[in-house]
């Protein structure tokens, strides 16, 4: 398994592909592949992250095969890659457990799994410095699919045992780092409820063309991250025509930019990918969007116009 390292110049670049919604390899899927190839060529990242809805399982003839197809670009690029699942990955003919098996056996894949914790594919990766000592951490969480409580409709949420797993992992890495929390990022599919809060209450950058489709209840993952003080950014997908980010209590809550053509979008709202650049030793990151026409969107506009109050 490849290990992740900051470059000689101290940077580490991540490309986030989200909501690829791969079906059976039709023309739109191939457009998605072209976008991925373009972004990888332009950005030459050190890591690729898929934040869920890799496949549109209810429309896939063979979901496992669709999964293999959608990650092929990453596999063939030789770039390490990692993934979390979204609600559409395991809707009808395949379980998350089966999908996870496919994920764990792919080439150059760094995806992992923590047994005895809710969900499939909760894991952490570290990025080493020149000596190979962990200098940053990446958390990947399964935000599930749909609520299984009769009194709660809608999407699932990150469960308390997953939050406890994150806390323990974060504490372990902090200890290894001499008592200082590692600068960290977190990746999952479904936005936390705080994504709606940040748009309402703080300056945000980028677009919000639809409602924030979170779970209906708040299980407290955001509070856990604030308390641990290591995560400086979270990255989700799920809402294809939102791509904004905003900072709440020291954490930048970021949407990706939808990368898949085989699903809903918005006319004039190009597909693309979010790019994240960490610098070793810094508790912050740079981020921008790379779009399918090759251009860069630095997201300078947002909701500030109406934030006169």
């Amino acid at each position: 398994m490849p290990s992740l390292r900051f470059r000689e110049d101290g940077t580490f670049t991540i490309v986030q592909f989200t909501d690829l919604h791969w079906k059976n390899g039709d023309e739109k899927d191939l457009q998605t592949r072209s976008l991925m190839e373009l972004v990888l060529k332009e950005e030459a990242p050190d890591l690729i992250v898929f934040t869920g809805d890799l496949i549109y399982s209810e429309n896939c003839e063979d979901p496992k095969q669709s999964l293999r197809e959608v990650v092929r670009t990453a596999e063939e690029s030789g770039i390490p890659w990692a993934a979390v699942f979204g609600n559409h990955d395991s809707e009808v003919t395949i379980t998350r457990s089966e999908l996870l098996d496919a994920l764990l056996t792919s080439k150059n894949g760094l995806s992992g799994h923590t047994p005895n914790v809710s969900g499939y594919g909760n894991y952490a990766l570290t990025i080493g410095d020149n000596d190979g000592k962990a200098a940053a951490a990446l958390y990947f969480l399964d935000s599930g699919d749909y609520s299984d409580l009769p009194n709660v409709d809608g999407y699932a949420w990150i469960k308390r045992d997953q939050i406890e797993w994150y806390e323990a992992e974060s504490q372990r890495l902090e200890k290894m780092n001499g008592g200082t929390p590692l600068p960290s990022l977190a990746f999952f599919h479904i936005p936390l409820r705080e994504y709606a809060d940040v748009w309402e209450r703080k300056p945000c950058f980028g677009h919000k063309h639809e409602n924030v489709c979170s779970s209906q209840i708040n299980s407290g993952f955001f509070e856990a991250m604030v308390k641990r003080g290591d995560v400086v950014g979270t990255f989700v997908g799920h809402d294809h025509i939102n791509d904004y980010w905003g900072e709440l209590f020291g954490i930048r809550l970021c949407y990706g930019r939808a990368s898949g053509y085989n699903t809903y979008g918005k006319e004039g709202f190009n597909h693309g990918a979010r790019v994240i650049r960490l610098t070793k030793g810094e508790r912050q990151f740079e981020s921008w969007l790379r779009l399918d026409d090759g251009s860069i969107d630095r997201q300078t506009g947002g909701n500030q116009e109406r934030k006169g109050d």
Binding site: L149, P150, N151, V152, W157, R160, I163, E164, E167, R193, E194, Q216, I217, N218, S219, G220, F221, F222, E223, A224, V226, K227, F249, G250
Partner: protein
Amino acid sequence: MSRKLSFRDDGTFVIVQFSDVEFIADGDHDPDTPDINAETRRTMETVIAVERPDLIVFAGDVTASARGNDPLASFRQAVAPAEERGIPWAAVFGNHDSEGAVARSRMHEEQLAHQHNVAEADPPDLSGAGNFSITLVDRSGSPAAELYFLDSGDYSALPSIGGYDWIRRDRIRWYTELSRARAEANGGVSLPSLAFFHIPFPEYREVWEQQICEGHCYEGVSAPRINSGMFAAMAERGDIMGAFVGHDHANDYSGTLHGIRLCYGRSTRYVSYVDGVRQDRFPTGARVIRLKAGERSFETWIRQNDGSVAELPVHHPER
């Protein structure tokens, strides 16, 4: 301590919730205090006389500790109407209970030292003070309901967040584990349960905005600025039918969100002050809760200081 509280012969169990009685020593800082203490006491006595409760719960801010010279004396004075009548009682603590020289843990010891108090000592290593549960038994002595009491703290310990504190995850874990153990001991069926704490969680704002509610909302919901997931834990466990808080004196509404009825109490000492002048927008009083053995539901109403039951407006969400 560990006295059995049991449902009556008619299968009911009545709880009176006093909210924010905020006792301070007579004459401390405020010449009106003796009168306000006496008035608060009269309100409690009226409610007790009419409702004859099986349990009295003080839902925090039992004292206004920052304004008193002897918060423990204030505490004893506040709970006297229950203690003197020999009615079982228990308290959770609010943000105002630990603003003086007395720590919450000491305040909790003080309640445990009372003869008719039914609280329990804190579990070891749990954050906060005054986290305990009480099991109600039916006539055959079998557990029939569970009451959870949680410390919602006072003020955020994280300067970057500010505002009020929240129920920490270790307490949420304590609740879920206890809830699971109670269900296991009950043949796998969770016990109908209620939860009492002082500071409303953010879902109190949500229920007012999204659901049909009963009662008044004359001030903003002073919840913590961050959501630690207590409501989610309650929804997942599926045992808690109702949550009961105080804190916002000018709110007394209740409404149901994802199957859990979120209730404010009725402020027992005062409702509101405007520029230092008392301007109660509704009478002081108390929330009353009636459980029935074997039923996964409860009745609730508000008894006012004149002995009447409050007529509460119904509020529909705007959208």
